[in-house]
């Protein structure tokens, strides 16, 4: 379902592509690099996120998405490990969903949520490929609730248009809720249901705190999003170690 590539760009310190649900995003991470005096933080690394839309130049929507991603990455990266440096993450939206007739002539008010999971996942993969120390990884799920009160996972553009509410939830690798962006018309009970469903998608089965790691190691058959991350990294490692294996 999700299509990932690690290190598609050779000049950046780390990069990744992530395609899902019609959206395709390229992320490049450079860091830790020298920081401008103005942005320098004495005790931690400054995190800078730059987002480019698929067409045109960025506007208010991109600034908002940038700030969401930036706040999230600032929490995920161990910023205190690189004081007085800059970690820069550049995100380029490559393609939008097929059914772009609606979103092409985007009114300013059109929802900015559908692309956010791809942005978060791509930036995390790029950070992993850069080998920047992270305190956790994250996975993001996108769920719509339609007018019949059923949950739709990874809704299409048309489904989003008809949905009564749409939800983006991102969970850390420890199962904590990191990012929420929900909008529409819903109740707190419904939101909790969405929360549980999204957590299941991102994080797999609910297990004991102590056992959860072992469980997640074994239950590879569950197509949870965390495994997408693991797969991508595993494939990359296998690729990089190929020379070693053929010789050995």
């Amino acid at each position: 379902m999700a299509d990932t590539t690690l290190l598609p760009l050779h000049r950046a310190d780390g990069s990744a592509t992530y395609s899902k649900n019609g959206y395709s995003v390229v992320a490049a991470v450079n860091g830790p690099i020298e920081v401008q005096r103005r942005d320098e933080l004495p005790e931690e690394a400054a995190v800078d996120v730059v987002l480019r839309p698929a067409a045109g130049v960025g506007g208010l929507r991109e600034r908002h998405l940038e700030s969401v991603v930036q706040h999230t990455l600032r929490h995920v990266i161990l910023v205190s490990a690189h004081p007085r440096t800059l970690i820069q993450c550049t995100l380029q939206i490559v393609t939008g969903p097929e059914d772009d007739s609606v979103t092409c002539s985007l009114p300013q008010a059109a929802s900015d949520l559908p692309v956010l999971p791809a942005l978060l996942q791509a930036s995390i993969l790029a950070l992993l490929s850069t080998s920047i120390p992270l305190s956790m990884t994250l996975t993001a799920a996108f769920v719509a609730v339609n007018s019949k009160d059923t949950l739709v996972l990874d809704p299409s553009v048309q489904q989003i248009k008809r949905a009564s509410s749409i939800h983006l939830l991102a969970f850390s690798s420890r199962g904590d809720l990191l990012v929420v962006e929900s909008e529409g018309d819903f109740t707190i009970d419904k939101w909790e249901e969405v929360h549980q469903k999204a957590k299941l998608i991102c994080h797999g089965e609910e297990g004991d705190e102590s056992e959860s790691e072992d469980v997640s190691m074994k239950s590879d058959d569950i197509s949870k999003l965390e495994n997408v991350l693991k797969d991508a990294v595993e494939r990359q490692i296998a690729k990089e170690q190929r020379w070693n294996q053929t010789i050995g």
């Binding site: 008010a109 809720l177 990012v179 929420v180 929900s182 707190i188 909790e192």
Partner: protein, 385 residues
């Protein structure tokens, strides 16, 4: 004479402590044994009482000055006319409209049989179409400006800061997703028959409910079709005079109050002059159709100072306080921030949060309860309860 140096005790006034070690300062306040008290004297779940003054700008169609603690914002709403002819995809939209009318008529026939559920469904569909149209035409244009000197962090002369842009974007999306403003008062109609046949066209239009208009539309269909010739575009400008945290809530309250205060003059399309005319009769002006009144509650999560505490670092994860309606000092220390927006009957309109893992499912339910309480307070301030 001997110098008698008075020994300086190594104590600071509280303000100095706050400047030197803000994180420890806040942490010390919150870990008060008798319950967390914030430096401002509020408890963790206590919001600042807002005050609101409407109609203070004479040149705006509606305006409000709102103050929550030391955050003060002015909002002015100005209506301007967008003529159909000036809309690029005018023809395509006209076609759409024609199709919709056809659908509606069909549904009307069914309605008699199916009854209320169908009515409800139809109303919802229409509202959605209205909102889509409003978004497509950009009829609501909010803009937030952080004035020079509103807080030391904002330097004059630069381009709009990221904060201002983000806030504007959040306001735009909330205006549309919450479906706050009804489309009908924003339409400027051309009604050929009404201009001549009715003696008091103003009165007719003022009482013009949707149903009534439809009925009239039907009657006039043979003579000449009433059509929308222009729209009101609402320019909603918010200027922060002073910023002490929680800009979004203050801006939203100012917008709500200003929109409620907004009166648009009666406007109609004059076929002879081919332009939109506005009546200058104040009694003919009418307000907007404000529904739902979504009320936000912003919060921040403070995770303790956790520095140089040795073993206490272990329990850093446990040490967290969810503070609602954060002020400027706390905002600088809260990594995790978010907003819940509650509408009518405790239904939610929006939840957003990012920057940390402090608020989970359980905390969110508590915050929604607080937001529902705050909504009552705001309704009283807005004079809508």
């Amino acid at each position: 004479m001997t110098l008698n140096p008075t020994p300086q005790p190594l104590t600071f006034p509280a303000l100095t402590f706050a400047k030197l070690a803000p994180s420890s300062f806040l942490s010390a306040h919150l870990s008060n044994p008798s319950g967390p008290i914030r430096p401002s004297g509020r408890t963790a779940t206590q919001t600042r009482t807002p005050t609101c003054n409407t109609g203070s700008l004479t040149h705006a169609n509606g305006s409000a000055v709102v103050r929550c603690g030391d955050t003060a914002a002015v909002c002015g709403v100005r209506g301007e006319i967008l003529k159909m002819g000036d809309i690029a995809d005018y023809e395509a939209r006209e076609l759409d409209g024609g199709d919709d009318d056809g659908d509606d008529e069909e549904e009307e026939e069914e309605e008699v049989v199916v009854g209320e559920e169908m009515m409800e469904e139809r109303r919802r569909k229409r509202r959605r179409e209205d909102t889509d149209e409003m978004a497509r035409l950009n009829l609501l244009v909010p803009n937030l400006e952080l004035a020079t000197g509103c807080s030391p962090a904002h330097l004059p002369g630069g381009p709009p800061s990221v904060l201002a842009q983000t806030l504007t974007q959040r306001v735009v999306t909330l205006l549309h997703t919450s479906d706050l403003i009804g489309m009908e008062p924003l339409r400027i109609w051309f009604r050929p028959a009404a201009e001549f046949s009715s003696a008091t066209p103003g009165a007719m239009r003022m009482g013009g409910d949707m149903e009534e208009m439809e009925a009239r539309e039907g009657e006039e269909e043979e003579i000449a079709k009433a059509e929308v010739k222009a729209f009101w575009v609402l320019y909603i400008d918010v200027l922060f005079i002073s910023l002490d945290g929680n800009a979004f809530d203050a801006a939203w309250l100012a917008i709500l109050a200003a929109l409620k205060d907004t009166m648009l003059p009666r406007a109609w399309w004059d076929a002879d002059r081919e332009m939109v005319l506005c009546s200058d009769e104040p009694s003919e002006a009418r307000g907007l159709d404000i529904r739902g009144v979504p009320v936000p509650l912003s919060f921040g999560v403070f995770e303790g100072d956790g520095q140089g505490k040795g073993e206490r670092g272990m329990e850093k994860g446990m040490e967290k306080w969810v503070l609602v309606d954060v002020d400027g000092f706390e905002e600088g220390l809260c990594r995790e921030e978010g907003t819940v927006v509650v509408g009518e009957r405790g239904r939610l309109v929006k939840i957003e949060k990012n920057g940390g893992a402090g608020v989970g499912m359980r905390e969110m339910r508590g915050l929604v309860g607080l937001a529902a309480k705050r909504r009552e307070e705001w309704m009283a301030v807005l004079g809508m309860s």
